[in-house]
Symmetry: C2
Subunit: 468 residues, 2 copies
């Protein structure tokens, strides 16, 4: 889902009344980011509080290559990583993941081996359908048990876009919450729905309900479900004791537009890129009675902050034996403070860009390769900023391209290298980058065991094939 | 000002708390248009309820040329046109215009000759400064009297962007409202501010107050002023008896970006064009106690509707001796009805496009000429939709380019000519266009007396020069 997909973020069809109400009762984050423009690394960062380059969700056998965990990869989340549910468990929390895990599908990576107590969902995306002999469809698990497969036991109609999955995920969420409330146990629910990921789907009731086509139908169903979850918390009388955060794992996939791709508002490009469209996310915090209603925060936030913030809410300290990139957002959320911190934009093993305050410096630019582009795969359809949305990997490390994201959120007008503003700002940013690079201890890369892990575009290829 | 310039419409800096609150207390229009992508014709349409091609605010000596009223044109609003204040007068309304008139500056076009009782402002834009001998600066009027000139008596500092004009306009508005309330007279106030028009300005207090630079400072000051006007109505106890509508006369001028140009959200191109970015406008209706708070309307609206809606509010009928294009929006605003009506997109004498429902058909495409473009004048910076944002006037009258604005608000993906959807929709649209063209009685063109009226780009040229 992209930054611009919600009414509160300016989507013209304005069809997300529940999320918009969540925002009006809670706090809207306008400057919130993911840790990577692709799903697996972003989710690994969310659950570890660490950049993918630290937690191993990156490649070293291809420069600046995004990578994820396709069906036939051997990598996954290392045992050495401490996941949020593992830590929350120490404070008595019961943890459940509903939906897409995406942190590895081999037995040792099973969510229940990494702190979750319950799981309903799948290790990977709902790509497919596959030939069920050589390439079986993606499995769906209830806890330790595989209970079926997408397309077979959990239907997805690729022709109509109909699938009941979001409704199943919703029911799982409501049931889990009810059980925890009944047993008076604190809980952590990671509701990792995926209806807006190609192949996009919605259940029958929502098909055709949007101005935006199937993608909009999926959004409407998600919006409706979130409304039901929040109302459920209120009905059970635990809303003032439950912190809820809504965000996305990467920008909208513009290669799937217009049929299955969302909106990144006025930001440049989308998923897979380190332009704003690829990594700035819709974000809403909700906690009635604690978060002032109708708040708007310009705190630079990141999915990794949800790790640290959740620990803080549970009265826990983040691990002290490793670098944690996430910060505790509670001062920003509860007291309106602004914490000075940079945002790093990575593709695979390369720091492509960094944001400090309202300034963003690109050290490398790349959209996608000429080879892909010539086949019609376009990460920035209708957008072309000369020298910025490049189709070769362009290095700017000695003279980064600098943008002011307030005056120019679309990254169209690089500042003049000769300007005083450029000089002054780059001095500040260079110090941040130098410190970041000097103290960087990269993790063992998990996603370059086979070139199958070198993501070209799974949305297009429907599962990655080894390229070499 | 562009569609995307308000927080409520997704501007990332979200710096318009007063307009956002106006929206949350009133009704937001997501599909509201101007009648022309340029100022003069748009304002003539607002005040007459008629398309510029009917009321004379167009050219016939240049195909599809936008035109306005520069300092040295002889044309203006014909006496035969009936303006909103002329009609409201019959119902006892006192009418005032504050700010930019732009319907002709020769004596016969004076606002007080066309129904207004009071005027504070100027006949034209605040371009300049000019040589005060050959080309004098733009005059400022109080009613019949010229009381000074911009840059001389009413300062605009082009270097810092400082000008006190919005504050003066605000005070004029508050005073007028107070007087009318005291005398218990119904009133119509046309608050035609222009701080977001290049050269963009803000008063000292607001300079540097925005994330967005000078343009954002101007927006903040406008937002603050509107907050003060609404609070003033409430303080005087007349807010439940006063209908307030906020909108803009054309999309943000992207040629002035990033320093002085605003945002059209995710819509294509900007001012001067008939793409959505040129003509879809931010729009908010406010009338406490009558309009349900927090409403969102997808009614296709147009500035011309404010003519008919205002008459309706005053208990008056629109003139029956001429074609009126504006419709009464009250059923949409008060009862949530959706009235089926088309939107026509004109440039000068040419109907470029038409919207029916969620579909928009382009009969002609054009951004600007290669000649201008080669000089760096770009109406669609960073945007290039092949075959759509053309630099020659491309005719598609036999096979219009068709877009679905719900699935594709950015006008990037024309529907396949061969599709059933195309065939069915174009049948519907063709009937609407045929009826429109057959019944069209064009007015006497006011803006092609001299080529000076043939607008290239006043923002760039700072006043038009005769090209021939």
């Amino acid at each position: 889902m992209g930054w611009g997909d919600l009414g509160a973020f300016g989507e013209p069809s304005k069809e997300t009344p529940n999320l918009d109400q969540m925002a009006s009762e809670g706090m809207l984050f306008m400057d919130f980011y993911t840790a990577n423009p692709l799903c697996s690394p972003s989710r690994a960062a969310l659950l570890t509080g660490r950049l993918p380059v630290r937690n191993g969700f990156y490649t070293t056998n291809g420069h600046a290559r995004n990578a994820y965990t396709p069906q036939d990869i051997v990598g996954g989340i290392p045992d050495s990583e401490l996941l949020l549910p593992e830590l929350l468990k120490k404070a008595g929390y019961v943890n459940k993941i509903i939906g897409k895990w995406h942190l590895g599908h081999r037995p040792q990576f099973h969510p229940l081996k990494h702190g979750f107590d319950e799981w309903f969902g799948s290790p990977n995306c709902h790509f497919g359908p596959y030939d069920n002999k050589a390439v079986p469809n993606i499995p769906v698990y209830r806890d330790w048990e595989m209970i079926g497969r997408y397309y077979e036991d959990f239907k997805i109609d690729l022709k109509t876009g109909e699938a009941n999955l979001t409704q199943i995920y919703l029911q799982e969420a409501l049931d889990f919450i009810s059980r925890q409330q009944a047993s008076q146990q604190p809980f952590f629910l990671y509701w990792a729905i995926d209806a807006t990921h190609a192949p996009v789907y919605a259940s029958k009731h929502f098909l055709g309900s949007s101005q935006r086509g199937l993608y909009g139908d999926a959004i409407r169903e998600i919006d409706d479900s979130i409304g039901k979850i929040l109302k459920h918390l209120q009905k059970l009388g635990i809303s003032e004791n439950t912190f809820v955060f809504f965000t996305s794992d990467n920008g909208a996939a513009l290669i799937s537009a217009p049929k299955q791709g969302g909106s990144n508002g006025r930001f440049l490009c989308g998923k897979q890129t380190t332009f704003e469209g690829g990594m700035r996310e819709p974000a809403i915090a909700w906690w009635p009675g604690h978060i002032p209603a109708g708040g708007v925060s310009h705190q630079l936030g990141n999915v990794m902050d949800l790790f640290t913030t959740s620990l803080s809410l549970a009265g826990l300290q983040p691990p002290s034996d490793r670098q944690i990139d996430g910060i505790d957002l509670l001062p920003a959320i509860l007291q309106g403070k602004l914490i000075d911190r940079p945002i790093f934009y990575y593709r695979g093993n390369e720091m492509m860009a960094v944001r400090v305050g309202l300034y963003k410096a690109h050290y490398w630019t790349w959209s996608n390769s000429w080879e892909e582009y010539s086949k019609g795969i376009d990460f920035c359809p209708g957008q072309n900023v000369s020298g910025v949305t490049t189709h070769t990997q362009e290095e700017h490390t000695t003279l980064p391209l600098l943008f002011h994201l307030g005056r120019d959120p679309g990254e169209k007008y690089p500042l003049s290298f000769a300007s005083e503003e450029y000089q002054g700002v780059m001095e500040r940013i260079s110090a941040v980058v130098q410190q970041h690079k000097e103290t960087m201890v990269p993790g063992v890369p998990q996603l370059n065991v086979c070139d199958k892990a070198v993501m070209v575009s799974c949305v297009v290829l429907r599962g990655c094939a080894c390229k070499d």
